[in-house]
Symmetry: C2
Subunit: 227 residues, 2 copies
DNA sequence: ATCTCTGGTGATCACTCGATAAACTGGCTC
DNA sequence: GAGCCAGTTTATCGAGTGATCACCAGAGAT
């Protein structure tokens, strides 16, 4: 109490951050704001969240749109982990636990209120980055899953057919929609996410196996086209 | 050209609609506008779509919020068909074609750009009507599906367990997400919707059967809990 | 032909939005 | 301590928002 302390006096209002820190803080709080309010959220509301004034934003971003782009970059690229493809394709392990592990970590990464809401808002705006992400899911996840499933079923591993890809999308979308229900709709869901994934996998793998058998049968003895 | 025509001269600017027609037109075009722009879409842009001036809106709706509520009512209640529960529960037909028919007509009703976008926007706003709709899907569709599946599998038909409901949600969400990919993300999807539904059903039913068998096994000879 | 009722318009208010320019300030070097 | 400089604020602009008011106009009844 008595010392006049040349050390920082625990200033009531933290100000004068370094440029990098301030810029980063803008992106962080903007993500929160836009996740809740959509990208119509105001720059003044954002500044209030940081405890600064609104024009300060324009020292760090030329326009609100640039800030939004930065938010996209961080949200989309942030949780992206490079080990996922390895996890899916590692044939030294049985396929089922591979898929279980993958969807466990994948949903751990994206099942947050912030991520899902930003994702849907960007999807509704039809932005390129959203298209890019969807393509990434298809190429890096779904085609890989199909390939592994075909391998497991003893089928030739070629490019997945459109129908197979759709199958994988429906499966993937079913799991994804769990997150939407929980974090967007705030609807009650089965609390045990791991069980949900496990059950979804049971159904998908059992179903895929049956389909694969049928496909194999059809290849051996093609049935006539309905008509 | 020469006749002074007391008949309506095919007026260039249609004006002076009846109150009911004008009000209805406001809701229709507002649905289009809000589907594209979100509910931030402006009242002036709306009026422009009708070819009238903006203050006219306030002859028919006390506020923009009331207009939005009317949009919700029409969008959510419009495609709701009362025959759905009958379709699902009609045990004179095999379960699979029942489900195929149901999802065919259900997705015919809601897989439009307008419906899906309005639905997601309202979901992001966390409105009561969205919660109501989700509850309706659960009660009127999913529990019924589970009940019929249990009946088909020769299991006792009681209240569906939380895990079973989740199963149905994942299945339903997978199909729903097809619409999201097609109409929200504008992503390429398997064009044949009926086949997508058919394949999803194949997988779901085959999977459910297997799960049901396991559940029956477990009831006969309970396995020890993993530990 | 005139009156009246009602669908529709023009002008405008108070407010919020994104963005800009100029002034201020606190810590740093010389 | 003088002076600079980067981080921050104050004041403000122009455009766009939802909403209100007084007014207009045209078809139907008398």
């Amino acid at each position: 109490m008595s010392r006049k302390t040349p050390v920082k006096p625990a200033r009531a209002k933290q100000k004068r951050l370094s440029a990098d820190d301030r810029r980063s803080e803008f992106v962080t709080r903007a993500t929160e704001l836009f996740a809740e309010e959509g990208f119509g959220g105001g720059t003044r509301a954002l500044a209030r969240k940081l405890g600064v004034t609104q024009p300060l934003l324009y020292r760090y971003f030329p326009s609100k749109d640039d800030l939004i782009k930065e938010v996209y970059r961080r949200v989309y690229l942030g949780p992206l982990e490079p080990g996922w493809d390895k996890l899916l394709s590692d044939r030294s392990r049985p396929l089922r636990p591979r898929l279980q592990d993958f969807y466990q970590t994948y949903t751990d990464a994206i099942f947050t209120r912030k991520w899902l809401r930003i994702y849907l808002y960007s999807g509704l705006k039809g932005l390129d980055i959203n298209r890019w992400y969807v393509g990434m899911v298809k190429d890096k996840i779904l085609t890989r899953i199909i390939r592994e499933c075909r391998h497991e079923a003893g089928l030739a591993v070629s490019k997945p057919s459109a129908a197979e890809l759709e199958l994988a999308w429906v499966f993937h979308g079913g799991i994804f929609y769990y997150g939407v229900r929980k974090y967007i709709y705030d609807a009650p869901v089965l609390e045990d996410k791991a069980q949900m994934i496990s059950d979804a996998l049971d159904i998908f793998l059992a179903g895929f196996e049956r389909i694969a058998e049928n496909a194999a049968d059809r290849r051996r003895a093609p049935v006539k086209v309905a008509g």
